[in-house]
């Protein structure tokens, strides 16, 4: 019987190989980045019709707009997540393989995470131009906030994807319940982003939201790992 941290090691490795595989499939055609860029632009274009972007309020809700775009991009990415395993019954093969359910779920989450980060980075640049927002004021903190929030979204997205491919749980409309779990996390992300866009963010609030994000990540990840074995059965 291998020791606990050996198995944990393997879990991580396997998760990474899953993620690498998904990314390989996704990046098959090199256009994915252009697509992401064009995607961001189109969304921002849409948004610009909804809001009078020159006005100060819009500047104030910049964070909200950004995370709206990310949420949508996320939805597109996550829907693929496990659906990618359905043709040719690849999911069965993975479930029959020594691969642990947890690492499968985490692997998917990591893949989601990476793709989403790409889209987010591109959107951020485009956004900066169109809404002339100075987002590079606090690069380090911003990066931190994005990573934290994105991971939370990615892991829930993975669970969401797993639920939608599970034949028995699908009919229960569980996804509709799982997905809104993201709202508090998104709010935290939005508030934090807005803070970091402003010239001198108040350290205290920043910390507050950051802590909230961390809490969510931990909770969601734990939740996902706990649910892994129950969700990933057919």
């Amino acid at each position: 019987m291998p020791g606990p941290d050996v198995t944990r090691m393997r879990t991580v490795q396997q998760a990474l190989s899953i993620a690498r595989k998904d990314l390989a499939i996704e990046l098959r055609t090199k256009e994915s980045l252009n697509a992401a860029g064009a995607f961001a632009v189109t969304i921002l274009l849409l948004l610009s019709f909804v809001f009078d972007v020159t006005s100060e309020e819009t500047r104030a809700i910049a964070g909200g707009l950004l995370w709206l775009v990310f949420a949508f991009a996320g939805a597109l990415v996550f829907n693929r997540g496990f659906a990618r395993e359905l043709p040719n019954e690849c999911l069965d093969v993975l479930l029959a393989s020594p691969l642990s359910r947890a690492s499968l779920l985490v692997g998917k989450a990591v893949a989601n995470f990476a793709m989403l980060l790409v889209v987010e980075f591109v959107s951020l640049i485009v956004f900066g131009i169109f809404y002339d927002i100075r987002w590079w004021l606090h690069p380090a903190q911003l990066a931190g906030a994005f990573v934290l929030a994105t991971w939370g979204i990615a892991i829930i997205g993975a669970v969401f994807g797993a639920l939608t491919v599970n034949l028995r749980l699908r009919e229960l409309m569980l996804p509709v319940i799982i997905y809104p779990l993201l709202i508090p996390l998104l709010i935290a992300a939005i508030e934090m982003t807005n803070l970091l866009f402003s010239a001198q963010p108040s350290q205290s609030d920043e910390l507050l939201w950051a802590r909230l994000l961390v809490v969510f990540d931990v909770v969601f990840t734990a939740l996902a790992l706990a649910l892994a074995d129950t969700i990933l059965v057919n």
């Binding site: 499939i25 043709p87 040719n88 690849c90 093969v93 393989s97 020594p98 691969l99 642990s100």
Partner: protein, 236 residues
């Protein structure tokens, strides 16, 4: 010889339809058991249970003494289902590499190229599976199944859309695997090929095990025999 695969009084219900009814079967390790039966008999169901992909409602299943869902058991099994279980958008080579990593195979590189040659896909190793012909997919799926040297092979209709040469090749593989002590359970409708390879035969009808035992020479001569003799519905 110890038994590699044991089913005891296994009942499988889909809703209220009993797909497997009190199936009791023991397959010695190192033997090659052909799982025969008409369409809808329960062959796939049985194999999926052994692969740990399907719950059973009653009875007990043991793979090398473990429960099929147990990681230790999964490490030792190779499963080839109806879906071939490879990724359309990855090349043959990438597919095998991925599954090698997942199964934790040592020296994956050499293994992969080695297996690609054995199933005669070396020439198209870099081609995405989406561009493969059906037989080429099946070959790749076979390579995927054998890749991690499983000691229990669960093959669901492995001959599907293989040409004569590929069938010969597969028979070779199975013989080699047995020589190395692997246990093989496969389902098929191509009785001739089945009897040619199998050392044992199990016949299912409507979820009930009708016959289990050695493959006798007379089966080879008259493939239809088994169905005629042991099944209520009789021959075609």
């Amino acid at each position: 010889m110890p038994e590699a695969v044991v089913l005891e009084g296994v009942w499988k219900f889909y809703g209220d339809y009993a797909a497997l009814r009190d199936v009791t079967l023991a397959v010695e390790s190192g033997s090659c058991c052909a799982l025969l039966g008409r369409n809808g008999a329960g062959k796939t169901t049985l194999l999926r249970i052994l692969a740990g992909l399907s719950h059973i409602q009653r009875g007990q299943v043991r793979l090398m003494g473990e429960s099929p869902r147990n990681e230790k058991a999964r490490k030792q099994t190779g499963f080839l289902g109806h879906g071939i279980g490879v990724y359309e958008d990855l090349s043959a080579c990438e597919n095998l590499h991925f599954f090698a990593r997942v199964a934790g195979v040592r020296d994956a590189k050499s293994m992969v190229s080695n297996w690609l040659d054995r199933v005669e896909l070396g020439r198209v190793a870099a081609m995405p599976v989406r561009q493969f012909s059906r037989g080429m997919r099946q070959r790749l799926a076979l390579a995927r199944t054998f890749l991690h040297k499983p000691s229990v092979l669960l093959l669901d209709e492995p001959f599907t859309s293989l040409d004569d040469r590929a069938i010969a090749m597969l028979s070779e593989l199975l013989l080699d695997a047995r020589r190395e002590g692997a246990t093989i359970i496969f389902s098929t409708h191509q009785l001739r090929e089945a009897f040619a390879i199998a050392s044992h035969v199990a016949l299912i009808e409507n979820g009930r095990l009708r016959f289990t035992g050695e493959r006798t020479p007379e089966m080879l001569e008259d493939p239809g025999l088994l169905y005629r003799r042991y099944m209520d519905s009789g021959a075609a």
